[in-house]
């Protein structure tokens, strides 16, 4: 177990290193003079030249790459052209909002998606099943930002029930997290329905029924436990979607997280911030995947043996 875990952690570190390298060289492709953006409009050529020399932008690419790596390890994310400093503290200040948004989306997924899937499986081919299955197909086709626009238009502009702009209290969390979670809710409901139906047809269920166990006991104690394994996997794999989707949703709802900051930074050509947030998303995704794998070994003892 310890050996398995340390191998996974080692692998995650190696991947993180590779991604840092890829992202560094991707951002090398940006045309234009970084020093000019950082110096800002109205600065003289001499000032720009001095800044470029001070930031070491004249050095060969390999020197800058190594400096970038050393900097990252020390928590140095480069120089932002907007904040005129290391952007890390500005980025980190916005992390809690993004974490709250994605956590709320995962919570909604579990609270809505899993019961919907169970309900569909237990009412196989009857009306609740059909209604849920049709909703799943629809939710998988609707873009999250359009769903968000519709929610704002109906619940915020028309009815005035919920806030839709920025953060003005916990009620602000409802619409963005719902728009972000919709696709995942559909995926989890479909997955739960599928594995539930499969499990309900197995021999152990027939045995439990024939010995007179109450159907609710069979479902809760036996079927659900087995059905949860693939569902947890789906939620884990889809956190990448949640992180990417949060950028669009944060923009739509002016949610003060790192996704909104990322799009602002792209507009202002502040590439240190864009690069830093991209890396943060990847690191976050790696850590979540690692946690899911650990969780997985706990729910599914079969993996531990391997």
């Amino acid at each position: 177990m310890a050996r398995y875990l340390s191998l996974r952690i080692l692998r995650a570190v190696a991947i993180a290193f590779a991604v840092v390298t890829i992202i560094f060289f991707l951002f090398e492709l940006i045309p234009g003079d970084q020093a000019m953006y950082i110096a800002g409009p109205g600065s003289t050529q001499a000032e720009i030249d001095a800044l470029r020399e001070r930031l070491g932008l004249n050095d060969p690419v390999i020197v800058r790459y190594v400096r970038h790596l050393v900097g990252l390890v020390q928590g140095d994310f480069g120089t932002s052209s907007v904040f005129k400093a290391d952007p890390l503290s500005y980025i980190l200040a916005r992390v809690p909002a993004t974490l709250a948004l994605t956590a709320a989306a995962i919570l909604l997924t579990i609270v809505i998606g899993i019961p919907a899937g169970i309900l569909a499986a237990l009412s196989h081919n009857r009306i609740p099943d059909l209604a849920i299955s049709i909703s799943v197909v629809a939710l998988l086709a609707i873009p999250n930002f359009w769903l968000g626009l519709l929610l704002i238009s109906l619940l915020s502009v028309e009815l005035g029930w919920l806030p839709s702009f920025g953060f003005t209290g916990w009620a602000s969390l409802v619409l963005p997290s719902l728009a972000l979670a919709a696709r995942l809710i559909a995926l989890v409901a479909r997955m739960t329905r599928g594995v539930m139906l499969e499990e309900l047809g197995r021999d152990y269920v027939r045995t439990a029924r024939s010995k007179g166990l109450h159907p609710s006991v069979i479902v809760i104690r036996h079927v659900l436990r087995n059905a949860m394994i693939p569902t947890v996997t789906v939620i884990g794999l889809q956190t990448g979607y949640l992180l990417g989707g949060s950028v669009v949703i944060e923009r739509l709802f002016a949610w003060p997280g790192i996704g909104d900051l990322m799009i602002n930074a792209i507009g202002q050509r502040d590439y240190a911030v864009v690069q830093g947030i991209t890396l943060l998303f990847v690191f976050g995704f790696l850590i979540i995947n690692l946690l899911v794998e650990v969780l997985y070994t706990f729910i599914n003892p079969r993996v531990r043996a391997v």
Binding site: F27, V137, G240, I263, F281
Partner: protein, 289 residues
């Protein structure tokens, strides 16, 4: 569709056709929806009642009427015409990106699955790494580097969609590599590239076709999301995501602006999803849900 409305007792060949249509209803619906959008994309100018850029400020921000079936935008342009003509832009970006991703994915997947030793292992590791970058984040980062526009959008989507195809194809190629006919071809001295193209790829093509059609729906979602963020196709080109991005500013005064582009996106994605699911059920009953 004509066959299902046929009320006469079907016999022989038509009974078979009817049964096939019923069994592959997803595929039929998917082909109909995607085919419909392809038709609109080609003949958009002829179908659209107005030009995409025809302005009439007297009728700005008007709701649905007989003259403008789904209303007008802030410059008095007919929204229906803009959505119809926009079909071409959204569909072109999605299909081009998926085609590029499929070709790149086929090359990488074939090599990483078939070639033993370091070339396969390096590609496999690279795909592993690429898969840890959330797709949307990668697409946004690439679009930021490339600058907004159609080319940047296509590069962003095709790069982020390549790794999943390579990974799925590799799995299938690993299976096929163990088949007897591959051993036979190796033994009689057929070169590796020829075995890959002539014998392995045709046997693995099903899975690529299914994955590509499911990805086309995803590509529509990513392309329109980037357009919505202002990182994709730029106004005044009436790409659907761009239409939603500009329409959002008038959400209070004219909420109808965001309705029709959103319906168009959802329908097209639904079409591609049904097409992918239908193809999977038809071509590969083993994986069927």
């Amino acid at each position: 569709m004509t066959a299902t409305s046929d009320t006469r007792a079907p016999s022989g060949r038509s009974a078979y056709a009817l049964g096939w249509l019923r069994q592959n209803i997803y595929l039929v619906l998917g082909v109909a929806i995607v085919g419909g959008f392809a038709f609109i994309a080609v003949f958009a100018e002829a179908i659209a009642p107005y030009g995409a850029d025809e302005q009439n400020l007297l009728f700005a921000l008007e709701g649905p009427s007989a003259a403008h079936l789904v209303g007008t935008d802030a410059l008095g342009r007919d929204l229906l015409s803009r959505v119809l003509i926009g079909t071409r832009h959204t569909l072109t970006v999605a299909l081009t990106s998926v085609a590029i991703a499929a070709m790149a994915g086929i090359v990488l997947g074939l090599i990483s699955g078939f070639v033993r030793g370091w070339p396969g292992r390096i590609i496999d590791a690279a795909v592993d790494i690429a898969l840890t970058i959330p797709m949307m984040v990668l697409a946004i980062a690439i679009a930021a580097v490339m600058g907004a526009g159609v080319v940047g959008l296509i590069v962003a989507i095709s790069i982020s969609f390549t790794p999943p195809i390579a990974r799925i194809l590799r799995g299938r190629v690993l299976e096929i590599r163990e088949e007897d006919f591959v051993d036979a071809a190796v033994m009689v001295g057929v070169p590796a590239w020829k075995i890959m193209l002539r014998h392995v790829l045709p046997n693995a093509s099903t899975i690529v076709v299914i994955e590509a059609s499911l990805q086309a729906g995803q590509a529509v979602l990513v392309a329109t999301a980037l357009g919505f963020l202002g990182l994709g196709v730029q106004p005044p080109i009436p790409e659907w995501g761009t239409l939603l991005g500009t329409g959002r500013e008038y959400l209070q005064a004219a909420p109808h602006i965001v309705i029709s582009p959103g319906i168009a996106i959802s329908l097209l994605v639904l079409g591609f999803n049904l097409l992918g699911d239908g193809l999977r059920d038809w071509l590969d009953p083993r994986i069927g849900a």
